[in-house]
Amino acid sequence: MTLTLDIDKPSEKKPVVVQTIILAAGLALLVLAPLFFYPVFLMKLLCFALFACAFNLLLGYTGLLSFGHAAFFGGAAYFTAHAVKEWGLPPELGILVGVAGAAFLGAIIGFLAIRRQGIYFAMITLALAQMFYFFCLQAEFTKGEDGIQSVPRGHLFGFIDLSQSTNMYYFVLGVFIIGVAIIWRIIHSPFGMILKSIRENETRAVSLGYSVRNYKLAAFVMSAALTGLAGGIKALVFQFATLTDVSWQMSGEVILMTLLGGIGTLIGPLFGAGLVVTLQNYLATSEFPVTIITGLVFMVCVLLFRRGIVGEFYNSRLGRKLGFEHRH
């Protein structure tokens, strides 16, 4: 007995060590990345990765497929751009305005959408986000088809010049890490457990006495707010906010990133976003439309590859050996 215990113990500890090493290596890679890659490309990647992680909080951990997350992403980009450019707010406050705006939008859209379930939920979020798109098309402050151009990046906390791309990169990286840490904290809290129980069996969660509606709405608003964080930094990185970010294609893109990386895995969306953004950059110069590839990847993923890259890894022999959660 004692012998087996002795064997068991180190093998239980080992995964934690390995996972810590992988995490540290990943962080080191992100810190050193600007030495090897074009910073704007990396910043775009991180923005979309955070966007996809925030989206995954809803799809992967609560089981709600929102087809309208572009409203929060693009909406926050508009709010931040407007706050920084027209009101002259510093970048950190500008981003907060974006986050607050996205959370507010999330509360409205979420309140309406959670009244229906499953497939209807997806259609309602899509329709309401489209309504927001038309609002942005006609509203004064969004500048219509032009969008809000030449948004100043400003000085972080008044003394870090964000117009330098290295500074900007580490700022974006910091925001990304904070965002992912918040998501990690949410899904590992008792609150996150309840969200998962709703995903697994909503009826049972109701019968256990949880007010599922409130939990869903809370998850929706949190996801929207974190999406707003991604949208806000995106507006500062690219220094503009346009209709592209609020269009339904953008909602589709974030679904693809999450699906490709692995629904319900914390870092899967990072890989999904990396692949999609790389693909877009690669195809940007060619005549060939990205949508054909995107559509095909969607179909292949749904038919053959529903766990996504990280999900498949977790489920592989190596992944299990390293002690990653076995998820569906």
Partner: protein, 293 residues
């Protein structure tokens, strides 16, 4: 004059509303039929509508085949494509969460639209109104382009015909039974997998038929489908997908509501259907004709 609006303008917008409503009704009808049996929300419905219009345009410009044959050939062709897609791919998703069906058909829509955009460009191609339906007639109180009258009448006939087929024929009773309990129906010796294929093909063909009807009114463009499908989703949420007649009636009603908004408050005409959807969700979440919660 009605509410300070000239009668001509009022009736003109009412007519446009009825035309749009015809397309909403045809499309939401197809969506409801497919969803009823397959439990799949067919995101590719807009793309199939676009395919119908494009088939008609291709037939005319490459083979000189006119509107009337296209009205039959294009839906058949798109229905066939739909059947192949259902047999080879969509079928594998029935045992999964319905959301995967939505995601798959979304990818399908992107691929089809992207391909046509690549081949024919994003701008629209004009499609001439068939000679027999050209011109218009003066009704005394307004001028009615004959083709538009034809679209409203014909789509009404198709909608009611489809409803009759589903409610009154033997095939329809099989369909309805398979919607309620596919396993039981299968055990009676009815080929349910074939029914599923047929249903998807029928839904796709209805979308294509709407596309051919739309070709002379709107231009034939690769993007025509994605513009309309989101509105049709809202229509479906308002109507609830439990009832075929509900889908048809809601389609026409919301089309007219949109048209009338254009008269009284044009700025809101883009979003009025979404606003109505939000109000319905607040008051009657299951939808006007919905049975499920």
């Amino acid at each position: 004059m009605i509410f300070g609006i000239p009668l001509q303008a009022f009736l003109g917008q009412l007519l446009i509303g009825l035309i749009n409503g015809s397309f909403y009704a045809l499309l939401s009808l197809g969506l409801a039929i497919i969803f009823g049996l397959l439990r799949v929300i067919n995101f590719a419905h807009g793309a199939q509508y676009m395919l119908g219009a494009f088939f008609a345009w291709l037939l005319l410009s490459y083979f000189g085949i006119g509107y009337w044959p296209a009205l039959i050939v294009a839906p058949l062709a798109v229905g066939l494509v739909g059947a192949i897609i259902e047999r080879t791919m969509l079928r594998r998703l029935y045992s999964l969460d319905p959301l995967y069906g939505l995601l798959f058909t979304f990818g399908l829509a992107l691929t089809i639209e992207g391909t046509f955009r690549y081949l024919y460009g994003a701008s629209g191609q004009p499609y001439a109104t068939p000679a027999t339906l050209a011109g218009g007639t003066n009704l005394g109180f307004m001028f009615l382009p004959i083709y538009r009258g034809w679209v409203i009448a014909f789509s009404l006939v198709v909608c009611i015909g489809t409803w009759l087929v589903i409610e009154k024929t033997k095939l329809g009773s099989y369909l309805r039974a398979a919607t309620e309990n596919p396993i039981l129906v299968q055990s009676f010796g009815i080929n349910v997998p074939f029914l599923l294929t047929l249903t998807y093909a029928l839904g796709a063909a209805l979308a294509a038929l709407a596309g051919v009807l739309a070709a002379p009114i709107y231009q034939v463009s690769p993007l025509m489908g994605s513009n309309i499908i989101i509105v049709v989703f809202a229509v479906v949420v308002v109507g609830g997908m439990g009832s075929i007649m509900g889908a048809i009636v809601t389609g026409y009603l919301l089309g007219v509501a949109e048209g009338l908004t254009k008269v009284f408050y044009p700025e809101a005409s883009n979003i009025v259907i979404f606003v109505i959807m939000a109000i319905v969700l607040l008051i009657r979440p299951a939808g006007l004709f919905g049975r499920d919660v």
